[in-house]
Amino acid sequence: MPRKSTHVDMTAMCDVAFLLLTFFMLATKFKPDEPVTVTTPNSISEIPLPDADIMMITVDPKGRIFFSVDNPKVREALIEDMDEYKKLGLSTAEKRAFAVGSSVGVPFSQLKSYLAAEPNQQKEFDKTAAGIPTDTVVTSDANELAAWIRLARNNNPKLRITIKADADASYPDIKKIISTLEGWKIFKFNLITGLKAVPPGTAAYDVQMGKAPQH
């Protein structure tokens, strides 16, 4: 009786593997580095987050505020302006660190030492960072978030402002951010939310199902 070979032809499997690999490589977009874990609340809104030109204000459950801009070029120009505006005395290397970094959540007084630190030290620091100080009054000097927003918008007026806040963040903390935005005459912004299903039997459900809402 002839012995059958146990060898399998791997070519087909290899083909599949690399096909999938190519797909994932092209489809992938790396998760941005986040200073804190934020669980956003859910809504039925299905508007996707725009790809570019985003300014994100992250609020963690304790109300600490982190600020980030996605475009490295804007970041570079932003830190340059901020250095000049607030007289931070940053070195070229520290500015570079800001341009390639992700988000900041420190007051201006600590910004220099924060940017001088190694990336993993920064991560460690983020855990205990105070967050960017803010206030309801936009013109107040203590409202550092207002300065960040203003200079970032100066550099790129197209920046969309998104607030990514934790579900457990308290309302007064959010209120401060909204007042700051309103102070700069920004009345349109986005809140990042997870997606939840539209509950059946409601007006929004009828719209989704293609029926005219009942009046």
């Binding site: 690999l21 809504s43 457990d168 809140l191």
Partner: protein, 197 residues
């Protein structure tokens, strides 16, 4: 002697005395390559973010004290429900604007829940306004207006849930307003009356 020639796997016999050039198989073992492929697939699958986060657009009213006064007089109290977001995801709501401290409105308590929650309150209010419109008590342009007043003890989740209820129930006119001391008093009174800590 019956002996099989096992030395040459491929190739034909070239006859006796002819030296055979050793033919190497062109087949390669692809197993390691497949291994590598799947390893990389796993890596990319883990790092990829497939679902893009969704956003909710908010348009705050243009802040101008003069305009605000004007707007306030336009709203008819019978179309309004004021919603106070309080601690532990509790919601207090009452009909009207509640601007008269001498006549405290009846505060009702509810929660965010699919049944008998705030959603039913909004749906019922919409129906009531439609009926008032049909009977001529309200003009054709009047709409249900919700005034959202988050207390300092409420969370961001409450606010988003409330805004979400607006889009779920197709309520076009709503406003986020600072809570007034009068409203805080209403909440306190209701809490005391019900023995809530």
């Amino acid at each position: 002697m019956a002996e099989m020639d096992t030395s040459s796997s491929g190739g034909h016999k070239k006859g006796p005395g002819v030296k055979k050039g050793k033919k190497l198989s062109t087949r390669i073992d692809l197993t390691p390559m497949v291994d590598l492929g799947f390893l990389l697939i796993t890596f990319f699958m883990y790092t990829t973010t497939m679902s893009k986060p969704k956003t909710m657009e908010i348009n705050m009213p243009y802040k101008d004290e003069n305009i605000k006064e004007d707007e306030q007089t336009k709203i008819k109290a019978s179309t309004v429900i004021s919603v106070l977001l309080s601690k532990d995801h509790r919601i207090y709501y009452y009909e009207g604007i509640g601007d008269d401290p001498t006549k405290p409105p009846q505060l009702n308590v509810t929660y965010f829940k699919p049944k008998d929650g705030i959603r039913d309150v909004l749906i019922n209010k919409k129906k009531a306004v439609e009926e008032l419109k049909a009977s001529g008590a309200l003009g054709a342009k009047d709409q249900v207006t919700i005034i959202i007043k988050p207390d300092v003890t409420s969370t961001y989740e409450d606010l988003v849930n409330m805004l979400d209820e607006m889009s779920i129930n197709d309520i076009r006119v709503y406003a986020i307003v600072d809570i007034t001391p009068v409203d805080k008093e209403f909440i306190q009174m209701t809490e005391q009356a019900n023995g809530v800590q």
